[in-house]
């Protein structure tokens, strides 16, 4: 009895309580994050067969030096760069236009453009796969026909595959990114624009010298999520091609290759090596970004 109350007092003390509160995070972090990271690093140097593992040194990494891996790496990086190039300026300009005082029914347009973000990647994938279907009557081929062009097999050649992937990305995320920019814009004081227009600044100049610099925190955030989202893209391609397969690997990404090696071919060692490389890329980008943001802060 005495012991229990000591324990209880210990548990209820102000010193121990915070650790109790954060315990759920500590536990899940150790079990479902730290341990998997360590084990994936370990497995990347091993040959894994069931529970038996043998150390193989850098063999898994050497196996990765093959054209398919290079292609998937190139695809992921290309997707990341282009999606950043699309998903920052377009939502920013749309948000600025929507925020204009000449605009009516702002709330309506804002909500409507948010709707695609509510659909699951699967539903979006189903619609886009069928829209970009190879049949003559598939929607995108009908659009081509309208412009007097012959139907094409969209999901075969790189150019049209990328087009489909970027249209899908734009469709799903423009509304969300626009919302980030709208909340960024609302924090900019209207006085700035007023005094600028008294000084005779055109709306383009106002955008360039007031809006753009003051939206920088938003842009940094959108850039960050777009970089990591772009690098880890997999499900979009999986659904568009109805499986982790695309003609000539046009749509295979790093994560797609990881999934193919690790899950489909049960080659955990190589899959882990890909995971580690992806981790390294992500960490390098993080460090670069933290460095850049740090220097920006010093400059301000």
């Amino acid at each position: 009895m005495e012991k229990k109350s000591v324990f209880k007092r210990f548990l209820y003390s102000q010193k121990v309580a915070p650790y109790v509160f954060i315990l759920p995070f500590i536990l899940t972090f150790l079990i479902f994050f730290a341990y998997p990271i360590v084990s994936t690093i370990a497995m990347s140097f091993q040959k894994v067969a069931g529970d038996n593992t043998t150390f193989v040194g850098l063999k898994n990494y050497k196996m990765l030096m093959n054209p398919v891996f290079y292609k998937s790496l190139k695809n992921s990086i290309f997707y990341m760069i282009v999606s950043c190039a699309l998903m920052i300026p377009i939502p920013m300009i749309l948000a600025t236009m929507l925020n204009s005082r000449h605009m009516r029914a702002k709330g309506f347009f804002r909500s409507m453009m948010f709707v695609p973000a509510l659909t699951s990647v699967v539903v979006a994938g189903v619609v886009f796969r069928l829209m970009f279907g190879e049949l003559e009557g598939s929607f995108m081929n009908q659009v081509l026909e309208f412009f007097g062009k012959d139907p094409v097999i969209w999901l075969r050649k790189p150019l049209t595959v990328w087009l489909a992937l970027f249209v899908l990305c734009l469709w799903r995320w423009t509304g969300v990114n626009m919302m980030y920019y709208l909340s960024g814009l609302q924090q900019i004081s209207g006085d700035l624009y007023e005094s600028a227009s008294i000084d005779g600044a055109s709306s383009v100049q106002q955008f360039r010298f007031i809006t753009l610099p003051l939206l920088k925190p938003t842009t940094i955030y959108v850039l960050t999520i777009s970089i990591f989202g772009g690098l880890a893209m997999f499900t979009e391609s999986y659904l568009l091609f109805n499986g982790n397969k695309s003609p000539n690997n046009v749509g295979t990404t790093i994560v797609g290759y990881l999934y193919r090696m690790g899950m489909e071919q049960n080659n955990i060692g190589i899959g882990s090596a890909i995971g580690v490389l992806l981790l390294v890329i992500v960490m390098v980008i993080n460090v670069i970004q933290l460095g850049l943001n740090g220097t920006f802060k010093k400059g301000e």
Binding site: I22, M131, Y180
Partner: protein, 278 residues
């Protein structure tokens, strides 16, 4: 000048009408196609050439007939979403509260870990996580889907941010009145946090409801899979399941759309919660 503004305003309006039309097009396409037989889609492709004379609701009748797994998947998804939202909200609120209201050793290290989890795409650890779930014997169960993500870093971050706006004097006053540390959390803080629960519940609910890759890896039995995984499995190359696929996709969005119309501001706040960082 005034006239010029008027013209500008009209042009802007027309422009956004067009943007919204393009945005809604895929969903409208999906909706009108759900009234056509699946074999039509297979033969002619997904398009707007609907013959309204033959349009019918047979696909929906089939969907509701109970001769397929659709509502089983729906139920699975709903159950997982509800449980995960409740648990993730509660646990993440505890953690966020711990970070916001106390000073303790290793606090900065622990919080750096939260940020680390947020920064690293979960796909990096999908293989070891898969092996771990097998090792723990929770493959093919909903705990396998939920446990690894039961405490959400995003939610911790948001709750911490939200609570940092609440005065700590509350705590001291409550302590003087003899409230325990946990009593403060349950009796005082949780009621104060209600508005943030709504937004975060929607954030977590949307990600659980729409989650695809991890549930696909964890679930094996046809009867246990979630709605997105089930819908994907209908996308066979022969198109013999298109009746259910299209109507089922529509019916997966409709409840969310209704909720969105009712709780719009919470949706927008919840799904753009990351923006508070900026």
């Amino acid at each position: 000048m005034q006239k010029k503004n008027k013209v500008f305003s009209v042009l802007l309006f027309i422009f956004f009408i067009l943007v919204v039309a393009v945005t809604m097009l895929p969903l409208i396409l999906l909706l009108v196609s759900s009234f056509r037989p699946g074999s039509d889609l297979m033969r002619f492709g997904l398009n707007f050439d609907v013959n309204w004379a033959t349009a019918n609701v047979d696909n929906y009748k089939l969907l509701f007939s109970g001769q397929n797994n659709y509502f089983n998947w729906y139920k699975n998804s709903l159950l997982i979403t509800v449980i995960q939202v409740v648990l993730a909200l509660f646990l993440s609120a505890c953690v966020g509260y711990g970070f916001a209201m106390y000073n303790f050793r290793f606090k900065n290290v622990a919080f750096a870990c939260v940020l680390l989890v947020m920064m690293i795409p979960t796909e990096v650890i999908i293989l070891p996580l898969y092996r771990l779930i097998i090792g723990m014997g929770i493959m093919d169960s909903m705990w396998g889907i939920m446990l690894p993500y039961i405490v959400a870093p995003m939610l911790i971050f948001f709750f911490r941010q939200y609570l940092s706006g609440i005065s700590k004097e509350f705590l001291d006053a409550a302590r003087v009145d003899g409230c325990t540390e946990y009593g403060i959390f349950f009796r005082i803080m949780i009621p104060l946090m209600k508005p943030s629960f709504a937004a975060m519940g929607i954030y977590q609910g949307m990600s659980s409801w729409n989650n695809f890759l991890w549930p696909m890896i964890v679930m094996r039995s046809q009867s246990k899979i979630t709605l997105p995984v089930g819908l994907q499995s209908l996308m066979s190359p022969y198109g013999n399941n298109y009746d259910i696929l299209i109507a089922g996709s529509c019916f997966a969005i409709i409840p969310i759309l209704i909720l969105f119309v009712c709780f719009q501001s919470y949706f927008i706040e919840g799904m753009t919660a990351g923006g508070v960082k900026g």
